[in-house]
Structure formats: structure tokens, C-alpha cells
Subunit: 239 residues, 2 copies
Amino acid sequence: MTTEAAYLKQYDASRFPAPLVTVDSVLFTLHQQALCVLLVERAQPPQEGRWGLPGGFIDMAHDDSTRATALRKLTEKTGISPAWLEQLDTFSGPDRDPRGWSLTVAWFALIAWADCQPRITSVSDARWVPVGALGDYPLAFDHGEIVAAALRRLRQKTMYSLLPVYCLPDTFTHGQLQEATEIVLGQPIQRKSLIRRFEASGMFEETGESLATGARKARLWRRKPGVDIHLFSRNLLAD
Amino acid sequence: MTTEAAYLKQYDASRFPAPLVTVDSVLFTLHQQALCVLLVERAQPPQEGRWGLPGGFIDMAHDDSTRATALRKLTEKTGISPAWLEQLDTFSGPDRDPRGWSLTVAWFALIAWADCQPRITSVSDARWVPVGALGDYPLAFDHGEIVAAALRRLRQKTMYSLLPVYCLPDTFTHGQLQEATEIVLGQPIQRKSLIRRFEASGMFEETGESLATGARKARLWRRKPGVDIHLFSRNLLAD
């Protein structure tokens, strides 16, 4: 028997009492001019009746990572698998869950309303809540803190990327991108800066079609296939 | 007994078999014109004799978060507590540790060589390894992947911040900042862009002293007290 096999045989898991581990996701979308987050009413204790993030325990027999757990839970609630899903942070400590020292791996994503809306209406315990109305929803555990952290990160990334593209339809105008970006940020932006970034990115192509808005017609754009949107700006080298 | 108390009494931890949870840190510094990472030779199985990141299990009786675990382990190895320590990511899965489904919360930090050097030499199993020499060190588990992810993140953040300030002495010149930034990035940068960012940040003040380098004298700067260095650039709003 090798040293390692001997060690594993002796390995006593109780020497390393494990924290309670969960995976939670903050899923954002844009609906009716508002940035919304998906909440689920807790059906079981602890904190039954409070609102929480979609998530749960790792299924170690089937999940090959916490990303897989996050995607499985989101698919259960919304029927879709987000094209972009990113790890936010890990929240941990002795007091955040009454069951003991716990740790949750938090993920966040931004999806287009059109992709999830038809499916989610059939899940009675899940609700899209505008971020401005979160005060009306008593949140379980430290999920309020997690939502706030996800919102900060989403806004930071929006500052230096074109991330709001993920909540637009497959084809969109510059005006729609500007509107989505301003709703995510919660403040107006310089349109010419946004368009300069958009054009410099090389990530988009014209569809050849246009959208009539009032008397004006605006060109429609789409993402080039296989392109990752949330790239960092590289101004220190590119200046 | 309340519903929640009744639930907690019935709560059977074995229904949710917990993954093995560890905390690991990627600690960077600059030494002899090279970006270096701290590695520790593993004294015990599994993977005894391989090199790994400083880290270990959560001490649930004392650590109030995974940050506390990371700081405790780094202090044990280096004698210092980094001024800036940020969560990198969580790495998880059934195959990364022979003991079973495991998850590590990875943190990363950048420190000044002057702060840690005197203490670390007394820890025989710890070594600063230039990132270019990592190929000579067989790394345990997925620690190679974790180091690579930390290096990418460090470089990304350096692109849009003044993070390399953390590996400089308390007082430094523009030239020293440029050199540190170029070593972290592994490529030359535009000096005037860096100085523009430095001045626009409002985070630094002149000491009134200067450093003679050859025939020239360069002004010395220091961080204003209490200022957080790794701020994002906000060009979308500021343009």
C-alpha cells in the first residue's frame, strides 16, 4: 500500500468538521425599464416564508463543480441556462445560518427577459423583484448582502465592458444598448463613449436590418458568434 | 418549541454530505525584477513532497470567515497580514483532491518584498518562486490552475488600476511604479498613460523628498492614508 493510500485509509473526516456548504445565484434581468432580481419564497425552515436566492446544496453524486450546482438550480427555477454566469464571491461565517458555520458560493448572471419569462410564470414561488423594491421583501440569511454585492459587481463590470448586451434581444440598436446600460447603472452615460467602446470592441456585426422608432430608423446589431462580451478595457496598453 | 427550533433539532447533517473545504492563498511579491509567488512544500499526504499554496482547513472555533482563515495561514507562513487581500474564486469538484469532493476558496494578495523577506527566510518549507520558474515546481492538486487564474486576475486588475503600488516601498518614484507595473504585466506600458492615471486618482501625495538615480533626481510619492488603491477606472461616465 502506498503512503498516500495508507493515509486515505486512516483519514478521519471528523478531524476536520466541515462547514455547511451551499450555492446561491443572483440572477438579473431587465423588465419594464427596471433592473430585476429573481427571488424564491422559502418553503421550509430555516427562515420559512422569507425570500431567498435560488440555490441549495451541492449534489456530490451529480454536480462536478459549484458552477454545475448553480446552473442546475437556475434551470429548475427558470428553465434556462444563462449564457454568462460568473462567480461573485464566497460568503461565510459562524452566524449566517442557524444550522452552524456555513459557506455559500455565490454566482451572478444577467439574462434577457424574453428568454426566461414564459417559463418562470409557472413557478409559483419565484418572483422577479425590481432592485428598487427589494425593501419590501424580507430576505433570508445574508442574502440581502449578497444581492447588494452582486449589484455592485454588475455595475462595476458594466463600467468597463459591454455586459448589458446579455439582457438585450439577439438583435438590438445602439439606443437599446444605451438604455439597458443606463438602467443597470442607475444613471445616464455618455452615448458617444458607449458607441466608441462598442465599435472598438469588434464583437458585433450589423444585421443589415433596421428598427423604426418614430420617424427614425436605427440599425440593428448582433453579437458575432462565439464572442465573449465581458472583456476588460485595456486602456493602459492601448492609449 | 418554534417550528425553526423543531427543525434544527431534527436536522440531520448526514442528509447533506458536506464537501471537503479548504482555503488557499496566492501571495505575490516582486523580487529581483521578477514577479514571485509563495509556495510551500507539502509535509504530509496527500501529495507529500509536492509544492502547494499556503492554506488549509477552516478552524470553525476561531475563524469567523474564509478571509480570517486565509489571513491566519498567511501570517503563519510570512509573519505579515497583507494590506490588500481579495477573493479570487472557488475551485471545486469530485476529482481535485483524492480524499473526495472538495472545494477550496482561493484568495490572492500582492505585498512588498521588504515587508515579508526577513521573516520568511526562517520558514524552511516556504519559498518565493518567480512565475517564470513555476515549471520547475510540481504543484499539488489543481494549485497550478489556481496560480494561473490569480496571475490573470492580477494582470487584469493592473490594467485598469494602480494595484502594483502594493508591492512598492512606502515611498516610491514614478519610475519605480512603472517598472513594477511592467514586471507584473510582463510587457512595457505607456509611461504617460500611467502617470495620467496616477495623477487623476488623487490617491497619492508628494513626500517633498526625491531619489537620485544616476544624474537625475525623481520625486518621491506616498499613498494618502486610508485610501483604497485598486479602484476601477470609470471612463464610461467620466469621458
